[in-house]
Amino acid sequence: MVPYEFQDTPLVIAGREFKSRLILGTGKYRDNATMVAALRASGTEMVTVAVRRVDLDRTKEEGILYHLDPKEFFLLPNTAGCYTAEEAVRYARLARAAGFTEWIKLEVIGDSTTLLPDTQATLEAAKILVAEGFKVMAYTNEDLVMALRLEDAGCVAVMPLASPIGSGLGLVNPYYVREIKRRLSVPVIVDAGVGTASDACITMEQGVDAILMNTAVAEARDPVAMGRAMKLAVEAGRLAYLAGRMPKREIAVPSSPTTGMLDR
């Protein structure tokens, strides 16, 4: 018997190919060894990192590059924590000056309670960064019009949220996310809000190109096991999307023949 081998097309962002459709954050892990083990278990090829001040009071090396090999994982720096376009552009430039990549996960927050994006500032920053040669992957809400504007601005991927950052509420608005995927040509990557494997599966079933998550893996009781669960869920959801689901019917239809029953 020939084992069934599923061959997906690669995820292509700005001409670069990725086999994995799972992008992971590197924040909030209890320790670096757990983080690296979880990343490996997940099969991810791209991980996000943040730009922050070096803590000069600490003698121990705390930079993530002491623990993460940029040859093993493609580094995607973010502008997390920025509240204005100007601030995000400053962080992006610092990230690029580190010398690893001109890619940037652009994130401009508009509200400190929900961490929802300031899409107007995001678009403003995206235009500046694209003009400076950055490959911009823009975090945004599930607003089709803003997603189109970000694509027009030259972003290499548009990343609508599933639900607020760190909330674990899952995909709140599948219809809007599907509509964004239907209308954009650049990859649509759902970023933020996935809480567990079923959320990841349902999200991929909408037809989006990939998922970016952090907390769901980092805050799991066993982050390494959850990393593997997310790999399987992303693959299952992707395969189910490509397979094409059966129609939903609000009526039962028997699976076995209704003819050939005894004594009838």
Binding site: G25, T26, G27, K28, Y29, M35, T48, V49, A50, V51, R52, R53, V54, L56, T59, E62, G63, I64, L65, Y66, L75, P77, N78, A80, R93, L94, A95, A97, A98, G99, I165, G166, A192, L212, M213, N214, T215, A218
Partner: protein, 72 residues
């Protein structure tokens, strides 16, 4: 260290007295930092890594030393 040869700079939001005549690379090394893993902003301008040794640190400079940390 002779106090009269020191200068005052602001590094990551805190004032520091450092010896006069240090360049950026010397400052990083004096702080125990690996220059290849730190990005330096001096007075809001990024210092290209190749220019650390040629960039002086002067009285009143505002320096931001950043690196990559875990994040989502």
């Amino acid at each position: 260290m002779d106090a009269s040869t020191d200068i005052t700079v602001r590094v990551n939001g805190r004032e520091r007295r450092i010896p006069r005549g240090l360049n950026v690379e010397g400052l990083l090394r004096s702080l125990g930092l690996h220059p290849a893993l730190v990005v330096v902003e001096r007075n809001r301008e990024i210092v290209p890594r190749g220019e650390y040794a040629a960039t002086p640190v002067e009285e009143g400079d505002v320096l931001e030393l950043v690196h990559f940390v875990g994040g989502g």
